[in-house]
Amino acid sequence: MIAENFNYDAPTSLDEAIALLHEYGDDAKILAGGHSLIPMMKLRFASPTHLIDINNIPGLSYVKEEDGYLKIGAMTKEVEVEESEIIHAKYQIFMDATKLIADPQVRNFGTLGGNLAHGDAANDHPAVMIALGADVEITGKDGKRTVGIDDFFQGFYTTAVEHGEVLTEIRIPAASGNYGSAYHKAERKVGDYATAGVAAMIQMDDQGRCTKAGIGLTNVSPLPLRASRSEEVLIGSDLSEAVIAQAAQYASEDCSPSEDLRGNVEYKRHLVSVITKRMINKAISRAKK
């Protein structure tokens, strides 16, 4: 459990960090909370020769509503999300999700940007961001660009963040009207990655008709998955029990889990169905409040 030798830099500006990434090339890695990267280095699954610690760069850590978006700085720690008033008031899905991410030690370090940039379908925030329809802001040598969450995850541990770039902000369309969201994952014990996890977001008009829906799934496909057929059946519907059951059924059919110690394919599909149903209902009840 000892990493290979590496060099360490802690730049104090984004420009400097980007310059260093270019200077060191492919063997350099950004260090955020370190709670995915350092375990991999200790197991010698990853052996970057340079770590660029971005913790000393000011202005990357915030949770705020602005221009119709909920904006979360890439370096915002899980614990800061947990403690944010806006999150408590309007985006309870984060309360559900962060509580299920490991333990306070991990949440004191792990960042939301890192959680996405790690590019692991087992992490919880990817599904949450899919359900909420997030955009990701990426900063490089030539400035900023924005990538929709559906184009962000590209493969196992690969995302739209290119070498020499830094994920800087996550933007989520602000909650409005009757808006509710919820997340749950089945886990074998606290701190475990999901056996299956489901994020749901529901927006309704005053008649209870669904105007917007987002369903994201954790750890039941190679990439974080949007349950599109589930969303389609929900949007425009009256959110009856039958519709919800159908959405749950679609989610369980459309995921492609693989068998591991957490469970076989049947069990995981079964969980997706049950949890999808429960999370839609939870989102609806929150939307009604």
Binding site: R188, K189, V190, E266, V274
Partner: protein, 792 residues
């Protein structure tokens, strides 16, 4: 409430004194092996086999040795020159220190890298090139006995199969007779899976050999420092390391649970390298090494049967065990007990016929068979008997609590001779179960269960009423490598009335620094705060066999009381001298002797001790010291009545322990708070195998969950709020009537939990569930009985 004989200031038995040791632990000032740093110390890391069974074709250390700071790479061939490549196990089998030609399990030690820093040792390890020729391993213990199975221990002369030993106890014919004629027989095959103690501190040592004085100082994570010193002398005496030249120091230990009883190859390699180089060698395992290579626990395949009458009288039990020992029998059992104390498996019930047999086999798994928080295989036995009792109750249609009440050994029938040869010393099983049932509102729960089932919700109630057997042990039966299993205490009281006491045991979190002081305080009336307790240094402590199997209080605790009583006898003589009366005229109350009828004429223990150094009677030896080696006349038999309530999510199969009531009877209680703490920890280690933990191997011998990511150690989050209580039935033969408690909860909890889960889904047709019962496993079982649809 417990009645105390001593004042709060004295703090003898029954007082919930805060633990003396905690002041340093909670301030991060403990002193563990990894805190030991010696000048010139070198660091060791170990190259481990990726294969479960392979020939070693070559080991190339060139690249490793080319790394600046890497000092040496040691292989089995190097150790062979000194006859140190094999070592004996505690069960008189043999184990490789480092292999010369074949590896026998994944993660086995293959070579050691010595370097000037921990980091360089690790880099060196990565650079050692080993060429293996993999062979097909034997992973299934049942297949290990097949005719065509490869003979794994071809190193043993004349060995033609993988069978290690056969053991049996009880009356085979009589038992068969009862079974043949019984109204009702229940039978179940069950596996008590391979698990790991997973103590927070891993194993390690600093071996420091001084080439000038020829002395070895060995700082190590051991639960039995004295026994280890003897073992080192037996293994290395021929190269000059004789017992007087060896000092084993076991500093603070971060959890042992039986896993720090064995001698691991790493220790021996470190000693060998220090012996050859004269440099201190530090070896500290990392988490994965600890989990993958150090001794496992359990791994018993049991076919259990119970026979009885149709109205619910248990008449006989029969257990057949297949024990998977890995590639060597490195169990930590007393020599004459290859299955440990498994024969306690007749349980708390009154019947006359039992027969048990066991066979042990070699496989390509790590060795071990440690007594994980359990008095040698008692956990396996209790699981079997408590599961069978429930199955039998179900079969005859009786409430499991009622059936237990009707079959318990009665209070007045102790001492009770068990059909497998034990003499149970004492117990009051009816009182324990009644207390647990009242605490949890058993009958109310049964009603609620019916109501919840009507709503499609699953509630389960599980009982375990177990008998433990601890405190090994009486010297006529108990020894390890021939050394009798008594234990010792030495008390020295200083002129000012303060004391130090030393023991042959070794606390790993049990709180000995507090409880031993309380025992001495009880007997001598010296405030427990004034009594310092020391263990773990073989140069200063009296000889003893260490701490495991709940033996410290039954053996060393008794020795403390006996040594203190010797001192009280002496104190009485001195008091008589000081008060100018005869001994018969004196009476004792904790802390002083006074003259009968004239209580104002008294001498405190402090005054008496001072006199022992300043003014002792003529003809009496000066000073105030005593030593006692306590050889217990019998083991002690703690018991418990545990009731667990679970809720099972009818859709996700999530299992939640709603309540858990544990009523323990460990005889007289020394420190109620420590007992409670022990029970809390033990119960958590009881839900571990019941619901979470199991070491899993694939057919090629790969461990599938060799890290804490997949080896699921439960935490506070998984633990319910434990509810504890006790009944007190003192051990009649023990000086302070205590029985030992550290392991009762680990032993007693798993069947209570599993019985509860089975009970929750019994109406769906489930009769038995194998541990660990996970939601995934339960889902599959519920598919098998048709509750969930099978889709593939």
């Amino acid at each position: 409430m417990i009645k105390c004989k001593t004042s709060k200031e004295i703090g003898g038995m029954g007082h919930s004194k805060k633990r003396k040791e905690d002041a340093r632990f909670i301030q991060g000032k403990g002193n563990y092996v990894d805190d030991v740093k010696l000048p010139g110390m070198l660091y060791m890391d170990i190259v481990r086999s990726p294969y479960a069974y392979a020939k070693i074709k070559s080991i190339d250390a060139t690249a490793a040795l080319a790394i600046p700071g890497v000092v040496a790479v040691v292989t089995g061939k190097d150790l062979e020159k000194y006859g140190l490549h094999w070592m004996p196990t505690l069960m008189s089998d043999t184990q490789m220190v480092l292999p010369t030609d074949t590896v026998m399990y994944q993660a086995q030690e293959v070579a050691a890298v010595i370097a000037t820093s921990r980091y360089l040792a690790r880099d060196g390890k990565e650079a050692v090139m080993v060429d293996y020729e993999p062979m097909k391993p034997v992973m299934d213990p049942f297949k290990a006995l097949d005719e065509d199975a490869p003979v794994l221990r071809s190193d043993q002369e004349g060995k033609t199969d993988n069978h290690i030993w056969h053991w049996e106890v009880g009356d085979k014919e009589k038992t068969a007779n009862v079974f043949d004629n019984a109204d009702v027989v229940v039978k179940q095959q069950m596996h008590i899976p391979r698990i790991h103690v997973a103590s927070i501190e891993t194993c390690g040592c600093v071996a420091s050999y001084d080439k000038v004085t020829n002395h070895l100082t060995m700082y190590m994570t051991t639960q039995a420092p004295h026994a280890i010193r003897t073992v080192i002398a037996l293994v290395a005496g021929h190269v000059g390391l004789t017992e007087e030249k060896i000092r084993v120091i076991s500093p603070d230990i971060g959890g042992g649970f039986g896993g720090k009883v064995p001698v691991y190859p790493g220790y021996v390699i470190a000693i060998a390298v220090s012996f050859l180089t004269g440099a201190p060698i530090k070896w500290i395992e990392d988490r994965s090494e600890n989990l993958q290579a150090d001794s496992f626990a359990r791994d018993y395949h049991i076919t259990a049967e119970m026979a009885g009458t149709k109205d619910g009288k248990i008449q006989a039990t029969r257990f057949k065990v297949l024990a998977d020992h890995g590639y060597t029998d490195a169990s930590a059992n007393p020599s004459k007990f290859p299955t440990g104390l498994f024969s306690i498996g007749t349980g708390s019930y009154d019947y006359g016929a039992a027969y048990m047999e066991a066979d042990a086999v070699y496989t390509n798994k790590p060795p071990g068979g440690v007594a994980y928080r359990c008095s040698f295989r008692v956990t396996e036995a209790v699981h079997a008997i408590e599961r069978m009792t429930d199955m039998f109750a179900k079969k005859v249609g009786k409430d499991p609590a009622q059936l237990r009440m009707e079959n318990f050994i009665k209070k007045e029938d102790f001492p009770w001779a068990s059909p497998t040869g034990w003499s149970y010393d004492s117990g009051d099983y009816h009182a324990g179960l009644q207390k647990a049932m009242d605490a949890i509102d058993y009958h109310g729960l049964r009603k609620e269960q019916i109501e919840m089932r009507a709503e499609g919700k699953f509630l389960g109630i599980g009982i375990s009423t177990f008998t433990e057997v601890v405190g090994a042990g009486p010297s006529q039966d108990f020894d390890i490598l021939g050394i009798k299993m008594f234990d010792s205490a030495e008390i020295r009281v200083h002129p000012t009335g303060k004391a130090i006491a030393r023991f042959g045991t070794k606390s790993q979190g049990q709180g000995h620094e507090t409880t031993y002081a309380q025992i001495i305080a009880e007997e001598l009336g010296i405030p427990m705060e004034h009594i310092q307790i020391e263990e773990g240094d073989t140069d200063t402590a009296p000889y003893g066999l260490g701490t495991y199997a709940s033996r410290s209080t039954p053996t060393a605790g008794a020795a403390a009381a006996m040594a203190a009583r010797k001192l009280r006898d002496k104190a009485k003589k001195i008091a008589a001298h000081l008060l100018e009366v005869s001994e018969q005229d004196l009476e004792w109350e904790p802390g002083k002797f006074f003259v009968k009828g004239a209580p104002e004429k008294s001498k405190t223990i402090q005054e008496i001790v001072f006199a022992a150094y300043t003014n002792h009677p003529e003809g009496m030896e000066g000073g105030f010291e005593a030593t006692h080696y306590y050889d217990p006349p019998n083991l002690t038999f703690p018991s418990g009545a545990y009731i667990c309530v679970v809720e099972v999510d009818a859709e996700t199969c999530d299992i939640k322990v709603r309540r858990f009531v544990a009523i323990d009877d460990c005889g007289n209680i020394i420190n109620p708070m420590i007992v409670q703490g022990q029970v809390h920890g033990g119960l958590t280690q009881g839900i571990a195998p019941a619901m979470y933990e199991e070491l899993i191997y694939d057919d090629s011998g790969n461990i599938l969950n060799g890290t804490f990511m997949d080896y699921l150690v439960p935490t506070a989050v998984e633990s319910p709020s434990w509810e504890t209580g006790h009944t007190v039935t003192p051990a009649p033969h023990h000086p302070i009537g205590a029985k030992g408690v550290g392991e009762s909860p680990t032993v007693g909890a798993p069947p209570a939990i599993v019985n509860a889960i089975v009970d929750a889904v019994a109406h769906l047709g489930i009769k038995h569930l194998e541990i660990p019962v996970t939601p995934f496993k339960l889902f599959k079982e519920l598919q098998n009985v048709g509750y969930f649809k099978k889709t593939t």
